[in-house]
């Protein structure tokens, strides 16, 4: 992994429930802010990277920004792990000299257009029935007829199996999940761009959140939202004269399970244990300890993901996170995360880690030196620091 690649610019569109904007408009807004934050001109950008399922092509971005020579345009095909895949791809490309300033972006009208949390109702047949087809774990022919309509239901299956395996009582599980939700909702109250900035939630409020798929409530599931994120990754040349404090990509690692997108068909143990040992090995390579990490971004598609990731990343033993979460000794998802800031699939978590490591976060962790990111259910991890990798 390149030791010189750094994030020097971040940008976000306004986050909303109904943007009233096109995805390219939001993307360009976030990208322009990120380039300006980096102190660069659009003409300095020579790489553009996005999620494969983003609807905004690199060519349209280049055209709109007036970039005439794109040296590298890539898509990440790793789904929910893409935020780390983009960090890895950008850092590798910088190290290989294939580009000097790369913009990574994600733009998504995930509330006003495509709601991933709800199975869209396809056309009905002549008898008025809805036809479920294909092998999707949600709404496919083997799942849709049984009401398996969205990831929330799969997360319910995971949580129930997790509780039973570790002998965790429902009360203890609810207490742990409520701790995560209320903490992130509290963080969001101080984040002016967070969608839940005006909606703090205490534990009683959490208990009143409607049950969705046992043991998970609506408040345990990530938002459906509109918005865009972008960040700029550069090499030494630009990092040295950046007007912001560069945040270095120390390392990344990925363990993309081909089965992961099936959520439950092929795992004999739920929740799936993916990437166990990956973070330990990554930290070992750099002689960094878990205790050295000050702030953590965890892809919280559900609050329960925070528990599983803490365990799979080695911050505590298996089954221990329900106890540990009361006082985890590490700040997690300090922007509000996907539960309370915006659902931009981990890209917003990258931006928050950058703010923390610059010392500019609204919920600033004192002297934050190392930040770590875990996305896609611990399928991909990254280690960031404002210090140059030693």
């Amino acid at each position: 992994m390149s030791q010189a690649a750094a994030i020097i610019g971040v940008g976000e569109s306004d986050y909303s429930w109904a943007s009233g904007k096109t995805e390219i408009d939001m993307a360009l807004n976030a990208i322009r802010l990120a380039i300006a934050d980096a102190g660069l001109a659009a003409s300095d950008i020579d790489g553009l990277m996005r999620f494969s399922f983003d609807n905004v092509p690199q060519s349209n971005v280049a055209e709109a920004l007036g970039i005439t020579e794109v040296r590298l345009a890539l898509d990440s095909a790793s789904g929910a792990s893409s935020a780390v895949t983009l960090l890895a791809a950008a850092a590798s490309a910088i190290a290989m000299g294939q580009a000097e300033a790369i913009v990574c972006y994600r733009s998504f009208n995930g509330r006003s257009m495509l709601r991933l949390g709800h199975m869209p109702i396809p056309p009905r047949n002549e008898e008025g029935n809805v036809l479920a087809e294909g092998a999707s774990p949600f709404g496919g022919e083997f799942t849709g007829p049984y009401g398996m309509a969205a990831p929330s239901c799969a997360f319910g299956l995971w949580a129930q199996a997790y509780m039973q395996r570790h002998g965790i009582s429902e009360d203890k599980m609810i207490r742990a999940l409520g701790t995560i939700v209320t903490r992130q909702r509290d963080y969001a109250t101080r984040n002016p761009n967070a969608l839940m900035r005006d909606k703090p939630m205490d534990f009683d409020g959490y208990l009143k959140s409607p049950m969705l798929a046992t043991p998970l409530r609506k408040a345990d599931l990530c938002l459906e939202s509109d918005g865009a994120c972008a960040f700029v990754v550069v090499g030494k040349k630009y990092a040295q004269r950046a007007k912001t404090r560069p945040v270095y990509i120390w390392d990344t690692d990925q363990c993309l399970s081909p089965n992961y997108s099936n959520f439950f068909f092929d795992f004999t143990e739920l929740p799936p244990r993916i990437g166990i040992g990956m973070m330990d090995r990554l930290l070992c390579r750099h002689k960094v300890r878990h205790a050295d990490i000050n702030v953590l971004g965890i892809y919280d598609a559900s609050s329960s993901s925070v528990l599983y990731d803490l365990e799979n990343l080695g911050f505590c033993g298996h089954g221990e996170a329900v106890e540990r979460i009361a006082d985890p000794g590490i700040a997690i998802n300090t922007s509000g995360g996907l539960l309370a800031e915006v659902y931009l699939q981990g890209m917003n978590l990258v931006i928050e880690l950058v703010r923390q490591l610059r010392g500019q976060a609204v919920n600033q962790v004192k002297n934050a030196r190392f930040g770590a990111l875990s996305v896609g259910g611990a399928q991909a991890v990254a280690l960031l620091s404002h210090e140059v990798c030693s």
């Binding site: 949390g117 709800h118 199975m119 869209p120 109702i121 008898e127 008025g128 029935n129 809805v130 036809l131 479920a132 087809e133 294909g134 092998a135 709404g139 496919g140 022919e141 083997f142 799942t143 849709g144 007829p145 049984y146 009401g147 398996m148 309509a149 969205a150 929330s152 239901c153 319910g156 299956l157 995971w158 949580a159 129930q160 199996a161 039973q164 395996r165 409607p210 049950m211 969705l212 798929a213 046992t214 998970l216 609506k218 439950f264 068909f265 092929d266 004999t268 739920l270």
Partner: protein, 129 residues
């Protein structure tokens, strides 16, 4: 109602269900059972259909209380179950109602629910003691 729309590959599964049989995929070459959505084994061999015992163990479950779309809002609460068949593949089905007393690991057995004159859904439920 949400009903399956079989492909050419999966039609035999639903036809068998209408006859009261749960079919799984099977690889003759490496003697491995596979989920009905697959057409080929990872070894490359095309899979055949073979009848399951219809028995298994509950891997997990969740009770859905919240209508995720208008169609499902009329059905809540319902209990989604994931059953690991004795043969290995994991089949997801659901039971109407709130079955919070289910326990992971309990014995399950399949039954067949004719939801329309032409559609029959396999459904796993706790095996009689």
């Amino acid at each position: 109602m949400i009903i399956p729309s079989p492909s050419t590959d999966t039609k035999p599964y639903w036809q068998a269900a209408a006859q009261g049989a749960l079919m799984l995929r099977y690889c003759e070459a490496c003697a491995t059972w596979r989920h009905p959505r697959h057409t080929h084994c990872t070894c490359g061999n095309p899979l055949t259909w073979r009848q399951s015992s219809g028995k298994g163990a509950l891997l997990s479950f969740t009770v859905v209380h919240y209508g995720l779309n208008p169609e499902l809002a009329e059905q809540v609460p319902y209990t989604i179950t994931l059953t690991r068949c004795a043969e290995g593949p994991q089949i997801l089905t659901a039971m109407p109602g709130d079955h919070k007393t289910l326990r992971c690991g309990m014995a399950m057995t399949v039954s067949f629910d004719r939801v329309t004159p032409t559609v029959t859904l396999p459904r796993f439920q706790p095996a009689p003691a």
